[in-house]
Symmetry: C3
Subunit: 393 residues, 3 copies
């Protein structure tokens, strides 16, 4: 394409259409130069085939995974506390929300405040709520870190401490005395079934984490184990936390967030059964106490009741537990012409650098460089218009 | 760039800065060679323009969609069972959770166990729970597949069957007798409004699935239909299930997961109104019974009540139904210099292959190949230092 | 590579292996042509370095972010309505669902329908429900836009209006009288703590939006401010709505969806502390009233109670409020050989275009074009087999 433009402009287009131009070459028969030339060519070919094609698979078009996850937790736990008495917890009690989508929560510890009603009670004592008399309290004041609307009265919180009274759900929750051992310690033996269905829309590829070659009876009794059962979709909670290098009972006290990562990276040039889920587990919340606000994971929810006289009461539960977050990711690659052409083309460009290097070697490092140079270059002098003589060939 | 390096090294840099080197060419006036040359050039141009540019749009930079979805289900159903009596179900009853985010659940079938309390009752009979005497039961034992904590007693389950007693929410749920016809069969006529807002952050492009050119009155009465109303955001549940080639009433019995895929793939070089949502529907859970654990989709939740004497009771509901999962995906492309340069450059590299092919044709297949070869190549003999003679030109 | 193929085919392979071919060049000493040549070379180099490398960072491999989000809302509000009396709302009341995942809802306005029971009552009057006598009502009819199952009776709705009676949760909700000022106006002062943990799996890069260099005491009292506290993860609701250029009190009446976008785009060739979250806020639902069905954001949920005689009653709440949707996105780039080679290679291809332009300039625009042309081209005539003479050199 390069040469054509120059010559065609000075001729009629029709005749030049069937002309073919090609460079005049000199052929150097030299083992040294030839070896250098072949060596560099070889290195570039090794790079193209080895790195670009084999390692990076640059001949593939890629697509990101689209995924749908449902989960189902199994197991029962038993607690015996002064507040609640002996009590069995089943999945409808500890799994909140119950739907089982890609993130599910298992309650492991809690602070229960039963029989709250809309009424007035003295605030929890802290710097801004302790008062000496009613004049220290501002009626209608509503602190974002407080528990309600101040009524303007100063009341006895304990015998020695007076605090401003608030209108709120009373009695107030006292969340300082978190049980030091997780109440629902038995949660470590609960299991969860994860059903994951993935799609690579560009390749019209669909697959599930329950592989087609496992049967129903295996699925009823298996448990995930990285070595023996890497494709079993049923996971014991404690095993997952251990894989993330955490201790379940420690984590259960204040709660936390555990990522269940499912990697669906696949090379779709291989048969479909080579494409399977790879599970890994990682704690996602911050354990480091220094820069940690609200460590662990907890949230408050309430169960609402009505008394016989129609008044609303509620049981407030500050629920600590482990939030399991199923994160599905992956990229699939499949042979496609465009990236192949692009990456091959770009690599070929580097073959032209071979010539640059060899020319430099030929005209600088060889003994007979002047002889080569004389044949390679024809100097045209700009100031002289009488052609022939000035040409140094 | 190639040629420069060779010659500049043997001259002063300043003078060579304004030198221009260009290849010496031979021009072959041959219809055969010219035709071959032009034909190959044409094929490569067709490939570049046709495949790279038109089909693959390789001149575009791409971005992945970011999306926000809210949903709202409408409709009421009626059931008449021995447990619950005649009862009307509205959206607050059957839509769990009620928030309407990107995945929503419509209850279609259920097993209700009312009036459960924390107490003791004999376990459901199976291999590991059937007992002959108290000695077969282990006090405090807690099987992950059981329903509670064994008390150590062996009790009559039926007249002929004895099972170990457990502390649990009693009476236990008997989930074998799933209604054979979905209770809330009327759910097939429910409709859902899907509001979807997408962003392509790289292109600062925002759009909603409620297109700007439809008006409020149309939206109040329309219903999605692939042919007549492809942009109506209100979907009848049965239509969606049918589009996924499933039968609503069959799916409603044991539940399932239905993917509502919204494809926002767009070519943003066209005006904005060409970019619209494309809906498709696919069942995401596994129908094949062979390798299917916990087929369908269900979860348990409970409504908690307090009796007048302050004891907690609950109604446990094993809810079967269809989980609708709105999955938004898509890639937008827009002209950008970098991919254009990269892909065009790579394609141009292949134009240089034309020369390789034509040279081979010229020097091998033509009648006058020796004549052409003689002019194209100048052989320099390595062993001879007297220049002129050895040159074969 | 191009030249080799031609000559090798006519020789023995072994001897040609150590041959090196290089083009014969003419060197034009011309300030004009040289300047044009250098200028174009310079422009392409500026493009390669400036645009491809600096602006587009094409030497980088990229990866998409994977993210996990938890949120926690703080604050209490006070309402005083005829339905509910004086009442304090805390997080367990207004935050639905309570779990605090990547999208959380804050209730700001509501229509409460207490003491609903399964019973019969006249439908809300509209075109299809108003009746004159029982014959206008169809027993068992169930309109998707109605509230229940018609009993076939025509009842007094008001003194002057008769409507068909339905079996439903009665009394029916009347959702026309939405309070004109948001009930929970105090919600604007609530704060939310957003904990976000991101991963770039390809680069094994993990980070949290609570940066390692902030300490616990700062986090306890800080509030996000784009100028003074850009990395504080605690946000005042009103500030977020203002940043999205909306008015909180207006939005609170009918609800809406607010996107909290966290951009984690990072250049991982820089030290890790340069990679931080960038927050932005945008309203995601449609404000334009013309093509808006069900404007704002609301959903219905119910609290279920049991009366002393065992009948179920419920309080239906149509909840209006702001759904905050935390959307995390971003692409990280890191130096990688493959894209570098590809993009550099493609750019280098364009350097070969320099020659095309310069040749055209040399052979068309210079005074001595015939002289240059004579030396550059050697014309071989196809019809003449006597070599030497026909060559125009």
């Amino acid at each position: 394409i390069t040469q054509k433009m120059g010559s065609c402009s000075s001729q009629s287009c029709q005749s030049c259409f069937f002309e073919y131009e090609t460079e005049r070459m000199i052929v150097v028969k030299s083992k040294v130069v030839g070896s250098v030339f072949r060596l560099i060519q070889f290195l570039i070919l090794v790079y193209v085939i080895g790195y670009v094609c084999v390692v990076q698979k640059s001949y593939q078009e890629t697509d990101s995974v689209i995924s749908s996850v449902t989960t189902k937790v199994k197991g029962t736990g038993f607690t015996n506390t002064s507040d609640l008495g002996a009590r069995v917890w089943d999945v409808a009690d500890y799994n909140i929300p119950p739907q089982g989508d890609s993130s599910f929560f298992v309650l492991t510890n809690m602070i229960v405040t039963p029989n709250q009603t809309q009424s007035t009670c003295p605030e929890l004592p802290n710097q801004s709520t302790i008062c000496m008399s009613d004049s220290d309290c501002l009626e209608g004041s509503n602190d974002v870190r407080g528990n309600g609307i101040q009524t303007g009265l100063c009341m006895n919180y304990k015998e020695t401490v007076k605090t401003c009274e608030v209108l709120s759900w009373c009695p107030l929750e006292i969340d300082i005395n978190l049980p030091e051992h997780a109440l629902l310690a038995a949660a470590e033996d609960f299991t969860v079934l994860i059903k994951n269905s993935v799609t690579y829309p560009k390749f019209n590829f669909h697959k599930r984490n329950i592989l087609p070659d496992v049967n129903s009876s295996y699925l009823k009794q298996c448990e995930f184990n990285r070595k023996t059962d890497p494709y079993c979709p049923i996971f014991r909670l404690k095993d997952m936390v251990s894989e993330a290098e955490e201790d379940f009972q420690t984590m259960a006290i204040r709660g936390g967030v555990l990522g269940i990562m499912i990697d669906w990276s696949c090379d779709l040039d291989w048969p479909e059964h080579h494409c399977g889920p790879k599970y890994s587990f990682r704690r996602l919340d911050n354990k480091i106490p220094e820069n940690n606000v609200a460590p662990g994971y907890n949230f408050r929810f309430a169960k609402y009741y009505k008394t016989t006289d129609g008044r609303e009461t509620r049981t407030l539960i500050k629920a600590y537990g482990i939030l399991f977050d199923v994160i599905v990711f992956g990229t699939a690659g499949k042979f496609n012409m465009v990236p192949t052409i692009v990456n091959l083309g770009a690599a070929l460009t580097f073959l032209s650098l071979v010539n640059a290097v060899c020319n430099w070697f030929l005209l600088t490092c060889t003994k007979r460089r002047d002889y080569y140079s004389k044949h390679k270059f024809t100097y045209l002098d700009n100031t002289d218009d009488n052609a022939g003589e000035s040409v140094s060939y």
